[in-house]
Symmetry: C2
DNA sequence: TGAAAAAACTGATCTAGATCAGTTTTTTCA
DNA sequence: TGAAAAAACTGATCTAGATCAGTTTTTTCA
């Protein structure tokens, strides 16, 4: 049952985007000439589902989410830390549209790379293409895990997942300042805001976490992992 | 809101696997020399989550499902019609393990292609790699849609999705013989067997479908599409 | 071909988590 | 800096769908 441990609804992959290391100097130059650097403020849209996607977006700094929007509901697919690409799924599409939206969680910098240049290089440089394949595989696996957890774990398990994910993969500290509102945390775990509040309180009462204002400290990571596993 | 129509929990992609068209004669020969043809009987495992994955599997005929297994629960990720590849996500992995299981829905034939040969060709042939990227993107989009529907659609909508999917994409007929048990249909829609039974009955009572033994005929596809959309 | 097993079906009950309708605390900004 | 808005929180109620405990029908196979 070892492999089951790997399944969580965490939204951040560990993968480093190393694809650009495989470019020839000319290809590097071609990309440089066909990209633009942009800053996004906290809360700003980085891309919007259904709009034209003339770029692949490389996140240089900050933090963003990728999500699908319905009429009233939305689903967060992934959190994007710096060093990751946004919009890869548009590579295939004939009509160049984004298949999801992205929003900056905090002030962020990104490089917008012309998608046709990106495509051209993929078709010329197999090593580059291969490393894009690696990224897509990694993304798929993460989505599968999240999908599985969303359909089979109870809310406690999912909340535990996200807390562990925030602590281990994003902030890399036991204690961190949560700059997400309860509502955003609810979106991330796929539950209602009220449930997040109640469950965080339960975790606090059970002394699994400490909360002070926006600071959260995980005191019993072991137990939290158990909850994540069996929840 | 046009783009929303595209979202359904259907499990079959329309994509044809054209990647092999881009091989050089030598690469084609290399693949031929490093693959084995195998037959799977209905219900047999094609691959098993967690086991070694020395192959990429090309399904030549039949029909298979790809699913994740938990302790008691499972989640069907995708139905694989002939002409599709199974196990692409193992390409990335250093330790060559399948990340999901696959089972034959009916008697099937498959070609097992050595994964290292597959990797080698990806690293040599950018056009081939590019078409693998296309497949991975397509797969991702489908998973995103299914994920969204599973978390936001009611059961009626999901059942409608699957019926439409079976009729339009797999059997390509209004009337088809359902060789899936209610239990398998439940797995596919992520609901309990009892609910499938009740909802199929409701659809029958509302004259949206006709059922006779294992035969199902969709009589009001229009309404079914509405249910899929708003459900 | 007929007994046993599996699948299909039915109705009753239960429950996780959403929704609703507020109050209290914190943040924002003129 | 203090009024208004937003976020956090609380308790009560509701509901979609699961679970349970069966019965009936169909399939399997000795």
């Amino acid at each position: 049952m070892k492999y089951l441990n790997a399944l969580n609804s965490c939204t951040v992959s560990n993968a480093k985007c190393i694809c650009f290391d495989f470019l020839t100097p000319e290809q590097q130059e071609l990309i440089n000439q066909n990209s633009t650097d942009v800053r996004f403020k906290k809360g700003e849209n980085i891309c919007k589902h259904g709009t034209l996607s003339p770029h692949i977006i490389y996140l240089k700094s900050g933090l963003a989410k990728i999500f699908m929007e319905g009429l009233n509901e939305s689903l967060i697919l992934k959190i994007i830390p710096p060093g990751n690409l946004i919009g890869l799924t548009s590579l295939r599409d004939g009509n160049n549209r984004f298949h999801y939206s992205s929003m900056a969680y905090m002030d962020s910098e990104a490089t917008l790379i012309d998608i046709d240049v990106f495509r051209k290089i993929i078709n010329e440089n197999a090593k580059f293409a291969s490393s894009i394949i690696d990224i897509l595989c990694e993304n798929s696996l993460q989505t599968f895990g999240r999908f599985f957890c969303f359909t089979h774990k109870q809310l406690y398990g999912r909340l535990a997942d996200i807390l562990l994910c925030l602590s281990e993969r994003i902030f890399k500290e036991d204690e961190f300042e949560l700059n997400l509102s309860r509502k955003e945390l609810a979106e991330l775990t796929g539950m209602s805001t009220e449930s997040v509040i109640r469950m965080l309180k339960k975790f606090k009462d059970d002394q699994i976490i400490q909360m002070e204002g926006k600071k959260i400290r995980i005191t019993d990571a072991q137990l939290l992992k158990k909850i994540s596993e069996y929840g």
